[in-house]
């Protein structure tokens, strides 16, 4: 284990994170709302911590192994989530330390579960910091999902090892830096496009930037208590639906589309991908089965159905209306939709479409095998045979995911929360969606939960974000042996 290398890497991430706190300071300066010094102070504290870590570790590491990778990824999320709470504390926004930590973790993991209310009256700098945390978290996730997870082979993601943009090397550092540059450029460009579209459709500049950051990161923080419901404009809602959907697509696909040019074969690039097709079909089916009972009982309009369904199914967590008021069955379907989540290699959460697709294909194969016990029927993805070890990893992932969900739900319930709230808050946090049902529905927020429940849910968010295995591998004694 290269502890110095790990410390240095965490240190440099922390320094950059601290530096990014200057941006909300600029926002505060622009809007004359105070808090300039608070953000600068927070930035300095965080950067100083990072700087000390870097100095202690000496120089940049030459090479990092697989195991270092696991440790860095897990530590980075935990450390940055904790330090991101500093501005909430220096500005005095959060009432308790737990609230500050919860909001920050929720931001950095792009969950979008909030303990704040009265957002409309909040200083812009603080709102901006929330959105920015999601955006920064999204950047981290993109690199994590496209470059690091496949290399570490988390939950079957070795499937995508060869497909990430950038050089196919087996060196973690080289791969991450190369791939990172390409991805971040795309991420930035996409965000800019969304800002322009939102702004031209009627949002204020500030709202457009904030919502664009949260859309691309599939986060779901808003600058208004009513979330996207504040904007009563159909084109704006449709644009948001489109961009949420687009952000939920594997970034490797976007990259492939970009490389081939925006020519006539653009749809082909997307439609030749099994996961994308499954994702599209899944969305259609969800919208239909959520829409039918909702429209039939006249509890919501079609644009609300479209928006809320896509927001939940991509694990964004924006809302235009209180979908908890819809018939019970729609709530259950949305609950399941959270688990499936968006595509792998995107900023979306949940179990990821490709895993669900492969599990489904494997399940169907097993039924076939009952009839023909000796037939060899391979599971395929994009025409390629999926190897046994990948399928095994997928299953391990699925089982551990469900087990973790149950444990978190039981712990939350044990803190005295009712059953529905416990189940849905556990799901909404682990899948990084944000709003659940019951006490944490779209019309409520997480402020009223006991501190213990908040702590458990924070853990759930990080766990879900790290695709579970990255965390659990640290608990295996063998991991720490030389």
């Amino acid at each position: 284990m290269n502890f110095r290398g790990v410390t240095w890497t965490i240190g440099i991430l922390t320094v950059f994170f601290g530096a990014s706190m200057m941006v909300p300071a600029l926002v505060a300066w622009h809007y004359h709302t105070g808090h300039i010094s608070d953000f600068i102070a927070a930035g300095l504290i965080v950067s100083a911590i990072g700087f000390v870590a870097m100095r202690m570790a000496g120089g940049a590491p030459e090479s990092l192994s697989h195991r270092d990778g696991f440790l860095i990824v897990a530590l980075a999320w935990v450390v940055l989530a904790l330090l991101g709470a500093v501005p909430f504390w220096t500005t005095g926004t959060a009432v308790t330390v737990m609230d500050a930590l919860f909001e920050s973790t929720s931001g950095l993991t792009t969950t979008g579960a909030t303990v704040f209310s009265g957002l409309d009256a909040m200083p812009p700098s603080i709102l901006f910091w929330r959105s920015m945390e999601e955006w920064v978290g999204g950047m981290g996730i993109i690199v994590l999902a496209v470059a690091i997870m496949p290399l570490l082979g988390i939950g079957g993601m070795q499937l995508f090892r060869a497909e990430a943009p950038g050089p196919v090397k087996d060196k973690l550092t080289a791969r991450v830096t190369e791939t990172g540059k390409i991805l971040w450029y795309m991420y930035l460009v996409m965000t800019c496009i969304v800002v322009v579209v939102y702004w031209s459709l009627g949002m204020s500049g500030f709202d457009a930037i904030n919502h664009a950051m949260c859309t691309i990161a599939i986060g779901g923080f808003s600058t208004h208590d009513a979330s996207m419901g504040y904007f009563d404009s159909l084109p704006l809602r449709l644009a948001a639906v489109f961009f949420m959907f687009a952000s939920g697509i594997n970034f490797t696909l976007h990259f492939a589309a970009l490389r081939r040019g925006l020519s006539s074969n653009l749809p082909f690039t997307y439609f030749s991908d099994d996961e994308f097709r499954a994702y599209l079909k899944w969305m259609f089916v969800l919208i239909l089965i959520v829409g039918a009972p909702t429209l039939f009982t006249a509890k919501g309009s079609w644009d609300e159905v479209l928006f809320n369904t896509v927001a939940v199914a991509t694990t964004t967590g924006f809302a235009v209306s209180d979908y908890e008021q819809w018939p019970v069955v729609t709530n259950m379907i949305l609950f399941v939709a959270m688990f499936a989540g968006a595509c792998a290699g995107s900023t979306g959460g949940g179990m990821k479409m490709v895993r669900v697709l492969l599990l489904f294909r494997q399940g169907m194969r097993e039924v076939r095998r009952l009839i023909h016990p000796h037939a060899v029927v391979p599971v395929k993805l994009n025409g390629n045979k999926v190897t046994g070890s990948v399928v095994e990893a997928l299953w391990g992932f699925f089982v551990l995911y469900i087990v973790c969900f149950i444990i978190i739900a039981v712990l939350v319930a044990a803190s005295g929360v009712d059953m529905l709230t416990a189940l849905t808050s556990a799901a909404a946090c682990m899948t990084n969606t944000g709003p659940g049902f019951g006490g944490v529905g779209p019309a409520d927020n997480y402020a009223n939960l006991p501190d213990f429940a908040k702590a458990v849910l924070m853990f759930g968010m990080v766990l879900g974000r790290l695709e579970i295995f990255t965390f659990f591998v640290l608990l295996v004694p063998e991991f720490w042996k030389k």
């Binding site: 259950m332 149950i406 319930a413």
Partner: protein, 479 residues
Amino acid sequence: MHVRGIIWILALLCMIYGLGMLVTACVALASASHSVVMFGGYGAVLVLLAGAVSLFSGPAPKHLTHRDGFLMVSLAWLLLSLLGAVPFVISGVSHTFGDAMFESVSGLTTTGATVLTGLDATDPAILFWRSMQQWLGGIGIVVLVVAVIPFLGAGGMQLLKAEVPGPVKDKLTSRVSQTAKALWGIYVGLTLACTLAYWWAGMSVFDAVNHAMSTLSTGGFSTHDASFGYYRLPALHIIAIVFMLAASVNFSLHFAAAHRGFSLRHYFLDDEFKFYILVLSVLILLIAWVALPLPGSSWDEVVFSAVSVITTTGFTVGDYSLWPSGCILLLLLMMLTGACAGSTSGGMKLIRVLLLFRHVRRELHRLIHPHGVMQLRIGDHTVPQGLAESLWGFAVLYFFSFFIVAVVVALSGVDILTSLSASAACLSNTGPGFGDVGPAGNYAALPDVSKWVLMLAMVVGRLEIYTFFVLFIPEFWRK
């Protein structure tokens, strides 16, 4: 497809069922019930008709294939459920055909979910018929899970193939009949022991017989509305706990132990049994930790409820749906896991859960040593790849079925807790759930649509999912 063979076996099962009716008629006679004629007549007709059909369909089948097995098992459960519903309709206990079917399916699948109330005042013959149905269902299940399902290889259960008592032959028919003979004795013996124990501890003879039948089948029908809560004697609760546990252990283990002089050591050599004891103890402690501080709860109630739920029996001594939501979630979880494979209990079965856990552990090790070769083991056996795969397929189909059933029940206008727990309680063949279908409520108030869906769930859960779903693959019906 060996149609004659399937008909012959179904006729045989109907005949056994008819004999069960005749026994019930005797009970009716003894209790001077007016339903003697109905049970006697119906039973006699069933026996004669089934005899005629089996004569007509020719000699006993010698060769049944995989496919015949699947079809026969599913048909048997459906047909017998239908036949078992008739007494409920004729006697007027159930007002609608749906209710009668629900009671019958719930009995035969040893679920124990009921739509009847006022049991204490109901005709004893009807009560006996309910228990009898569970008991017959129980023996059917033991044969099914010990002999048939491992043979068909549904959901990774070929794992148990080698451990089945009786000759290990690759012929379904001879295997089933041999195993049934071996297990029959154990099942009847345990039931008699349970009856005597209940009677000795203070139940009336009628109650003792009824409760023994529904204990050993892990069914959970009672002759009282208050279920086991009717009896306040701790001794009775302890006896029930012991026999529920006995019924939820793999019958192959009982068989092996019986051959080696009933030593407990033999049980502790079994991985699944050890895991069962571990899981049960941990969950009991967790539940006790949360539920004991509540006023009016006792160790007796906690242990009884936990055992009743994990064995998927569904007897109740108190209303555990009033416990804190943490306990409810744990109980819901226990329903879905169930107890050991090869027993009368429902749920996913712990051997599958154990293997899934071992699988996760191996994946974690594989992340650290990406090129290491690691085997999945259970007992002394290495689990082959194909088997592990069908196991996972089972897990997914199980969760999938659970959600679909819950969604459909919710669609019929039931609240979320009721629909989730009703789905879990029926799919796992437990019986009482939470919410409206909790220990204090029952299934009578649910809309008809959800009753039918839950019936389907009971059958699907009982047949270990695959056995049922395989019938819907077009390939199954091709030559």
